[in-house]
Symmetry: C2
Subunit: 470 residues, 2 copies
């Protein structure tokens, strides 16, 4: 049963399992104690720290283990902001960071801090020059010098690699520490460039859940927040999850040894998906950067389907994938990453291949996908290409009322009637679904129609205006 | 090789190991995902929560899993204080709480909160009436109504059970929520009484490291602090350590099933240690409550020895125990628990028997202990009973300069010369070791001499005055 959601959690690597088992017997005692069980635990902890530090590219005394990647990010950001409080109070983040970073930024803002969000382009990458500009003094009316900048090494939803080395150089020039969230990439290789702090999560590389890591370079000002605790240099309170830590470090070393070969193999499989999906499925947008991307991850969005039904149908076919569509979110808003990129969110599918994915499984995925999408479209009454004849009965403009209808219905209704207005005429879609704001412009871009703009409509909705250009 | 430090960390229970192994294969995926691996993980998480809630005595939706007992305490205290911020800003804790509670209290005080520490008696228990009195309005000049009270179910260093039910009743009457740190007792049984919040730690009951739990009763005001996260009802950020959680819940159920029988068996072994140690080793104080105590834990202190050397010698003999003596602490201060109780801290030994401890191992411990203590005393030149003859060459008073000497030397020097002053005369000990403040009065109590008091001495030390009364 092919599991294609490694970016959420990778199945446990065999080396992790082996190391975990061994350290259940050897590593359960308190490493702070001086008796033999404690000394044994301390040796295991020290060895794990050395192995992890080597893989990260830092000194062992710069690295602590945390209970998760999320906690590593939270501790890294709060500790770093507090350490530089006298210098400034502004946090700079990219718009496509993981929610752990963005929630830490919200928390900073809620306690009086300033936050600057750096936008991304259509591939999901920040522009180093734009990022560098954000490191300057704060906007008028918005207090403070930049205390910390955060940039992921690669995006978790679309796989795009960020220009970390260039941004790190800009941060160095501006005297601002850079925290890199390396959760998605650390298994594939060390993060290049002069970062100051780095966070990662073991279950993303095939280690066990319950282990993250936080590296803080010597010389970076850092003041751990929250109650004092002596463990992990005071940066990660609570009794160490030693068997998990040992398994995390051992599996990081193991996946690194396999990374070059397995990365090349998975990259070829992802290339196949990237090339074949638009051929096999009409009205698809493959998103993210074609070249600068994680080897194992590809994301595409399908017009006229809802992500939840596609996921459900793929699950029935045995494929586990994830989606950034609004219908799969508890808040009914599309993924902030797709929004920041300005790409289609409806019918969104993220495929992230775990190490060892069989070629046949990828081929079978490509076999079943077209029928799955076609089936959902048929049930939703989606238009088939080409759209209707150019003779418009209603004259130069039409209004479509999609109020109260959820994604992908507003876009389907738009596509159904665009052929009913003459070239130069407009269709106005009334909608109150959050995804429409992203997906109507994205549909225009995909279909070569002109997106005119939006304005408030009666009844709490929004009127989206589209001009037919072809 | 007998390990007698279960109160630090218990060896993994076989059921925990079994459950962990099973859920490594079944429970690695994200329980928030809708595909089959995610649904399977969700089922495991739900079942673990139900089992843990049943053992705790709460509803499943009142209980979340945290990465450690320490994190459960920190989250419980900060969330509860924030939830009641409009009501008041005072935190009441007992003086013998675990460091995780006391550090959270320090953190509260550092951010402008008020803290009241409730003292304990010589057995280590709070007096419910004294605790109740502390729930009233704050002292003059010290702002605020009580927002939260914390009391451990049983003490981690001396095993004394606290009167939780009585204190919970007092809290209910005062309208103050009570957080119970049940880390040491939860494996033995549920916490009685009307507590509002409860924290515990799996590796104390034979579960794996990396799992704590926090229960918050419905109706208790609670506002989680730090960045938002959707997992665990927003109370414990980060990807769930599911294999650990499953193992924790399974082992809690297993240890509970064995608790009555194993508790009775260990209680008899501890009774044997309590009775035999003072017979076998001269100048020993067994501390804690004789009756209201954990079944598996006993603590005693030996005059004229240092805890670190005793631990080291016992480790050489194959016994792993811990100590609250200052020489085993990184801060060179005696355990805050022993200090609050006002009992001897030098030569302190805590024995906490894990489930399954063999009777022979306890007997062998009693065999080797006397020679270990005698050996250390001999090397330190400790006085042997009875102390020297009553004829005093130096007249009515003597001064002993122990400045710069560490525990147990100041007490040894005092004991050496007490016989050199006449009954009614005094010995003044000059010392700058933190343990002297506790151990000189404790020595007086043990030896029936009068502790007169202390005053500052030249050179940064303290002059402790003892009057010979027998």
């Amino acid at each position: 049963m092919p599991y294609f959601d490694a970016a959420s959690a990778a199945p446990l690597h065999p080396v992790a399992r082996q190391a975990l088992l061994a350290s259940l017997d050897e590593g359960w005692a308190d490493p702070a104690r001086l008796y033999r069980e404690g000394r044994r635990a301390r040796l295991l902890l020290d060895a794990a720290r050395e192995a992890a530090a080597e893989a990260v590219g830092c000194r062992p005394d710069e690295l602590v283990f945390t209970p998760s990647g999320t906690r590593a990010v939270h501790a890294g950001i709060s500790g770093s902001l507090a350490g530089r409080r006298r210098v400034g109070n502004r946090l700079v983040v990219s718009a496509v960071e993981h929610s752990s970073v963005l929630h830490a930024a919200e928390s900073h803002a809620a306690t009086g801090g300033a936050v600057t969000e750096v936008p991304v382009g259509r591939t999901g990458a920040v522009d180093p020059d734009v990022f560098a500009a954000a490191l300057g003094a704060g906007d008028a009316g918005d207090a403070g010098t930049v205390a910390l900048a955060c940039l992921q090494s690669a995006n978790h939803e679309v796989g795009t690699e960020q220009p970390v080395a260039e941004v790190a150089e800009a941060c160095r020039a501006a005297g601002v520490p850079l925290l890199v969230d390396a959760a998605q990439s650390l298994g594939w290789g060390p993060v290049e460039g002069g970062w100051s702090l780095l966070a990662a999560s073991a279950h993303k590389w095939g280690g066990p859940a319950g282990v993250g890591l936080l590296a803080v370079r010597k010389g970076v000002r850092f003041a751990p927040q929250g109650p004092l605790d002596e463990r992990e240099s005071g940066r990660a309170p609570g009794f160490e999850n030693l068997p998990g830590i040992v398994a995390a470090a051992a599996s990081l070393r193991a996946v690194r040894a396999e990374a070059a070969a397995e990365g090349a193999r998975l990259r070829a499989l992802v290339d196949r998906i990237r090339a074949r999906v638009p051929e096999l499925v009409p009205d698809v947008e493959v998103v993210g950067d074609l070249v600068r991307r994680l080897p194992h991850l590809v994301t595409f969005s399908c017009l006229y389907v809802d992500g939840e039904t596609v996921l459900h149908e793929l699950d029935r076919e045995g494929f586990s994938v994830s989606s950034g569509s609004s219908c799969t979110s508890s808040t009914l808003t599309p993924s902030h990453v797709l929004r920041a990129m300005g790409v289609l969110s409806e019918g969104n599918v993220r495929v992230s291949l775990p190490a060892g994915t069989a070629e046949e499984d990828v081929d079978r995925f490509l076999d079943v996908l077209p029928a799955v999408v076609a089936g959902v479209r048929e049930r939703l009454g989606a238009p088939t290409r080409p759209s209707a004849a150019a003779s418009a009965p209603g004259g130069g403009s039409l209004v479509v009322d999609a109020l109260g209808r959820r994604c992908p219905i507003p876009v389907i209704e738009l596509a159904k009637v665009i052929g009913d207005v003459p070239v130069g005429g407009t269709v106005t879609v009334l909608a109150d679904d959050a995804a429409a704001r992203l997906d109507i412009p994205a549909w225009c871009e995909m279909r070569g129609q002109e997106y005119v703009g939006e304005s408030p409509a009666a009844g709490g909705g929004v009127a989206y205006v589209v001009r037919r250009t072809s």
